[in-house]
C-alpha cells in the first residue's frame, strides 16, 4: 500500500496568522491594481468584448506580420484606438475595437468587423484569414455583465441555503466566507495576470466556487463526524485532526484535478487559456481557503457563539477552547 501523508499530525491551524498575511497581501496587490485602473478611468478588470461591447476580429496571417505592421493597417483604416494583440503565436492577432473608444460607435456597430477585415485584406491580400469575429452591442454587453454578477451572487445564496440545511449555520457561514475569499483572490489573480474576463472566465469562477466549497465540505463533514464521536478534544485539536485525516484525499484529488487543468493549459489552446488559468489557480486557492479561511473562521465563530444545545459538550468545549487559545497564543 503506497501512502503519502498518512497518519500525519501537522498543526495546520497554528500557521493561520502567516497564511492570513499572505492572502491579505495577495488581495491587496490585486485590489490596488483594480483601484489603479479605476483611477485611470479604465474598467476595474480587463473586460472581454462580450461585456464591454464592440468588435473583435481574430486574424491568422501566413507570415508573422509584427505588431507595428498590423497597427499601421488599423490606423490607416481609421481604427487608431483599436487594441492589437498577438494571440498565442506570432502569426495570429486579435483586433479589438471597443464601443465608446474614439471612432467606434454603437450605430456603426457590426460593420466595424467588415471594415477591419477589409483594411487587413487590402494590406495582406490572401496572406490572411479571419478566424472569427464578434460584435456585441451595448445593450447586450450590459445585460451579460449584469447576468454574470447576478449568477455569482445567486450561487452564493444557493450554496448558503444548501449548507444551512445540511450543516448548521456556523459551518455554513464559515464555508460561504471561505468561498467569497476564493472569488476575491481569483479576481485578484485575474488582475495580476492581466487575463481577460469573459463569460467563460465567469464560468470558471463559478466552478472554482463549486470546487472550493466541495473541499470545505469534505473537511467540515469530517469535523461534524468527529464532533459526534470524540467530545473530550478541543475544537482546535479536533479541527487539526480532521484536516490531517482528510489530507491524503485532498492531495489525491488535487493531483487528479491539477492533471486535468494542466492538460487544458498545455493542449487546449489559446481560446480557452484564461479559463484554464483561473481553474488552476482556483484549485490552489480552494484548498487553501478550506483550511485557513473556513477552518480558522469556524474556530472563531465557535468561540464567539458557543453551542448550547448540548450542555456537557459546551462545558467541555469551553474548557478546551481556553487550552486551544493558549496554544494559538503560545505560537
Amino acid at each position: 500500500m503506497l501512502r503519502i501523508l498518512h497518519g500525519t499530525n501537522y498543526d495546520f491551524i497554528k500557521w493561520w496568522k502567516v497564511m492570513a498575511a499572505i492572502t491579505v497581501a495577495f488581495i491587496v496587490v490585486g485590489g490596488s491594481m483594480v483601484t489603479g485602473r479605476i483611477i485611470r478611468k479604465e474598467p476595474p478588470v480587463n473586460k472581454s468584448i462580450e461585456f464591454s461591447g464592440g468588435t473583435l476580429v481574430h486574424l491568422k496571417f501566413a507570415q508573422p506580420p509584427g505588431d507595428a505592421s498590423v497597427r499601421e493597417a488599423m490606423t490607416s483604416a481609421g481604427f487608431g484606438h483599436a487594441e492589437i494583440q498577438e494571440f498565442g503565436s506570432p502569426d495570429q492577432y486579435t483586433v479589438r475595437a471597443r464601443l465608446g473608444t474614439g471612432e467606434v460607435t454603437a450605430a456603426q456597430g457590426d460593420s466595424t468587423a467588415k471594415l477591419v477585415a477589409a483594411a487587413i485584406k487590402a494590406k495582406y491580400g490572401d496572406g490572411v484569414t479571419v478566424l472569427r469575429s464578434e460584435f456585441v452591442g451595448p445593450r447586450v454587453g450590459d445585460e451579460l455583465q449584469t447576468n454574470a454578477i447576478i449568477a455569482i451572487l445567486i450561487s452564493f445564496m444557493v450554496t448558503l441555503i444548501y449548507l444551512a440545511i445540511r450543516f448548521e449555520w456556523r459551518f455554513g457561514l464559515a464555508a460561504v466566507i471561505a468561498t467569497a475569499h476564493d472569488t476575491i483572490t481569483t479576481i485578484a489573480f485575474i488582475t495580476i495576470m492581466h487575463l481577460e474576463v469573459s463569460l467563460t472566465v465567469v464560468a470558471a469562477i463559478l466552478t472554482v466556487i463549486g470546487y472550493s466549497l466541495n473541499d470545505t465540505i469534505i473537511i467540515f463533514d469530517r469535523v461534524r463526524e468527529n464532533l459526534k464521536k470524540a467530545r473530550k478534544e478541543s475544537l482546535y485539536v479536533l479541527l487539526n485532526r480532521s484536516i490531517n485525516e482528510t489530507l491524503p484525499r485532498s492531495i489525491m484529488t488535487h493531483a487528479t484535478t491539477l492533471a486535468a487543468t494542466f492538460a487544458l493549459l498545455l493542449f487546449a489552446g489559446e481560446v480557452i487559456r484564461p479559463f484554464s488559468w483561473v481553474m488552476t489557480f482556483g484549485i490552489f486557492t480552494g484548498t487553501f481557503s478550506s483550511i485557513y479561511v473556513a477552518g480558522a473562521l469556524l474556530l472563531y465563530i465557535e468561540h464567539k457563539w458557543p453551542r448550547e444545545a448540548d450542555k456537557g459538550t459546551s462545558r467541555a468545549l469551553a474548557a478546551e477552547r481556553r487550552e486551544g487559545a493558549g496554544a494559538a497564543a503560545g505560537n
Binding site: 467588415k114 449568477a151 487528479t256 487546449a268
Partner: protein, 552 residues
C-alpha cells in the same frame, strides 16, 4: 449472490441505454448542392451536436431597431413573435443546414447558422425589413418650391459647415449641361448656384447647391461626395418640417454615373403608397438582356385588382418601387394598367442580390425594423482546431489521471479507471439525450470533470484504508468505507451541481454548454464511482474468496 446479479444487470441496462443514445442515426438535412439547389440529404450522425464555436458558423442576436421606428412596450412581444416567423421563413429559403432560430428573452431573436460564412449576406437577408411600396413621384415641382426656404432654414440654424464651403459648389458648375431645368425650377436652382459662387456654402444656397434637377419629374441628383451632407440637412427636424406636405423624400439604392462623376438620386414621392407588398404571392429572380438582373413578382387577385385601378389612374406618371424607404432602380413610367405581375430592376447588381431580394419578398416583410445586437462568426478552421486541441487535452488528462490513480491505489485504482470509461460513456449519452450541445468550454468542463470524477473514488478508497487500519476485515472495510464516504460525496457534488445550475440559468451559448456538461459529468461520475466501482469490488471479492490483503 443475487444482489450482484441485479447490479450487473443494472450496469448492462445503463450501458445499453447509453450506447443506444449514442448510436449513429439517420437525419435528413437540406444541403445546397454544387449547383446551388437545396436538396434533402440523408446523413448518418452520432446524435451529439457540436456548438457553433466548434463547427464554425454564425450566431446573431437581433433586436427591434427603435431608432428607426418607435414601438409601444406592449406591442413589442407581439412584433417579435411575428418577426420570428418571418426570419424563420427567410432563413429556410436561404439554405443553411440545420439553422436554429429562437426567441431569446422577450424582445430578441437568436439566429444560429452553422457553416455559414458569408457574413454580410446573411446579415442582410435577416435584417432587411423588406417593406415593399409603390409610390408615384411628384410632378408638381413641390421640392423646387420649398428649396429656398430650406436654404434659409439651414442658414438660420447654421447647419452648414463653413470650412468645406467651396467644395460642393464646384461640381455643380461643371455639370450645367446636364441640368434640364424646367420653368422657374431651373432658375431657382441656378440662382442658388450663383449666390454660392460669391457666398460661402452657409449662404442662401447651402442645400440647393448640392442638388440638381434629374431627368424625370420629382428626381434630383446629388453627387456621391455630398450625400452625407444632404442627408444631415434633411435629417434636421426644422428642415424636415418644412418639406412639402403629404410628400416624402427618398434616396435611391445605388449610384448612377454621369460623365465621369457618380450621383445618388433623390426622389420626392407621394407619401401615400398606391400599393404595398402585402398582396405579393411570389417573387423570382431573373435576368433580362435589356435590364440586367430583375425580380419578377406576382400579386394575388385582390392585390392585382387594386394595382390595376391605381396604375390606371396614373398612366404616364413615374412609379417609384420603394423597398425599406429606398427607391429600387429608376422609377419607370406607367405605360398602362399593371395587374398581378410586375418586376423590379436591380440596376447593376448580381444574381445573388436578386435571389436574396426575391427571398425576402416571398418571406414577407418584418413587422418592425431589426438591428444586430450581437453577431459572432467562427471560421471552420478555428472550430476544427478547437476540437483537435480539446481531444488532445482530454487524452492527456485521462492518461495522467490513470497514472496517478493506478500508481497510488493499484488494483483499486484500476477499478476506478475502469469506471472512468463508463463515466465518459454516460456523460456523452446524457448530453445526447438532453440535447446538450458540445462547446469548447463544454470540452474544458468535460476534461475538468475527468479529474473531479475520481474524487468520489478517492474519498471512498481513503475511507476503506482507514477502516482497514482499524483492523476490520476486507469485506467490512469496503462496506463501511462506501457507507461513511457517502455524506461527504453527496454534499460536495450537490453543491457543485447547484452552482452549475445557476450557471445554466444565467449563461448563454457556450457557457450553457459548459454547465450542461458539468452537470452531466457529475451525475455520471456519481453513478460510476459509487455503483459501478462497488460492483467491481463485489466481483473481485467473490472470485478471490480467501483474499487476505486488499490492493488499495
Amino acid at each position: 449472490m443475487t444482489n450482484l446479479r441485479y447490479r450487473l444487470l443494472g450496469i448492462a441496462v445503463l450501458t445499453a441505454l447509453a450506447a443506444f443514445a449514442l448510436f449513429p442515426r439517420n437525419r435528413t438535412v437540406q444541403v445546397r448542392g454544387p449547383d446551388g439547389v437545396l436538396r434533402d440529404t440523408v446523413q448518418r450522425h452520432v446524435p451529439l451536436s457540436y456548438g457553433l464555436d466548434l463547427v464554425g458558423g454564425m450566431h446573431q442576436t437581433l433586436e427591434i431597431d427603435e431608432s428607426k421606428q418607435q414601438i409601444a412596450q406592449k406591442d413589442k412581444a407581439d412584433a417579435i413573435d411575428k418577426a420570428l416567423k418571418t426570419v424563420r421563413n427567410r432563413i429556410e429559403g436561404f439554405g443553411v443546414s440545420e439553422p436554429a432560430i429562437s426567441k431569446s428573452g422577450t424582445d430578441r431573436i437568436t439566429v444560429e447558422l452553422p457553416g455559414m460564412e458569408e457574413r454580410e449576406r446573411a446579415l442582410q437577408v435577416v435584417q432587411d425589413q423588406a417593406f415593399l411600396e409603390f409610390k408615384i413621384t411628384d410632378k408638381t415641382g413641390a421640392f423646387e418650391r420649398v428649396l429656398p426656404r430650406l436654404d434659409a432654414i439651414i442658414k438660420e440654424r447654421k447647419l452648414a459647415p463653413a470650412a468645406v464651403a467651396g467644395t460642393p459648389a464646384a461640381p455643380a458648375r461643371g455639370l450645367e449641361g446636364l441640368l434640364k431645368a424646367a420653368g422657374d425650377t431651373g432658375k431657382k436652382v441656378a440662382q442658388g448656384r450663383d449666390t454660392a459662387k460669391a457666398d460661402s456654402a452657409s449662404g442662401p444656397g447651402a442645400l440647393s447647391n448640392l442638388i440638381q434637377q434629374g431627368q424625370m419629374p420629382g428626381e434630383f441628383m446629388v453627387e456621391d461626395g455630398a450625400v452625407t451632407r444632404v442627408k444631415a440637412y434633411l435629417a434636421d427636424s426644422v428642415v424636415n418640417a418644412a418639406l412639402p406636405p403629404a410628400k416624402e423624400v427618398l434616396w435611391s439604392t445605388d449610384s448612377t454615373i454621369y460623365g465621369n462623376k457618380k450621383y445618388r438620386m433623390l426622389y420626392l414621392v407621394d407619401a401615400r403608397a398606391i400599393m404595398t407588398g402585402e398582396h405579393l404571392t411570389d417573387a423570382r429572380p431573373n435576368t433580362s438582356p435589356l435590364e440586367g438582373t430583375i425580380v419578377q413578382f406576382t400579386m394575388d387577385n385582390v392585390g392585382g385588382r387594386r394595382f390595376r385601378n391605381e396604375t390606371g389612374k396614373h398612366i404616364g406618371d413615374n412609379m417609384a418601387i420603394v423597398l425599406d424607404k429606398r427607391v429600387m432602380g429608376r422609377p419607370p413610367v406607367i405605360q398602362g394598367a399593371i395587374s398581378t405581375n410586375g418586376q423590379i430592376t436591380m440596376g447593376g447588381k448580381d444574381l445573388a442580390a436578386a435571389q436574396d431580394l426575391a427571398l425576402v419578398l416571398r418571406a414577407g416583410a418584418l413587422p418592425v425594423p431589426l438591428r444586430v445586437a450581437e453577431v459572432r462568426t467562427i471560421g471552420p478552421s478555428l472550430g476544427a482546431d478547437s476540437i483537435e486541441k480539446g481531444m488532445r487535452a482530454s487524452i492527456l488528462a485521462v492518461v495522467l489521471v490513470i497514472v496517478v490513480m493506478v500508481s497510488y491505489y493499484r488494483v483499486s485504482g484500476l477499478l476506478a479507471v475502469g469506471a472512468l470509461g463508463f463515466y465518459a460513456l454516460f456523460t456523452l449519452a446524457t448530453l445526447a439525450v438532453f440535447g446538450g450541445v458540445l462547446t469548447l468550454p463544454g470540452i474544458a468542463g468535460f476534461v475538468l470533470s475527468i479529474g473531479i470524477a475520481v474524487d468520489a473514488n478517492v474519498l471512498i478508497f481513503e475511507r476503506i484504508r482507514e477502516e482497514l487500519d482499524r483492523g476490520k476485515t476486507i469485506r467490512t472495510a469496503i462496506d463501511e468505507g462506501f457507507r461513511h464516504a457517502m455524506p461527504a460525496i453527496i454534499d460536495s457534488n450537490v453543491s457543485t451541481i447547484l452552482t452549475a445550475a445557476v450557471l445554466y440559468q444565467y449563461g448563454t451559448g457556450a457557457v450553457r454548454g459548459f454547465a450542461v456538461t458539468l452537470i452531466a459529468g457529475i451525475t455520471a461520475s456519481l453513478v460510476s464511482a459509487i455503483f459501478i466501482v462497488r460492483t467491481f469490488y463485489m466481483i473481485w471479492l467473490q472470485r478471490k474468496r480467501g483474499i487476505q490483503a486488499l490492493s488499495i
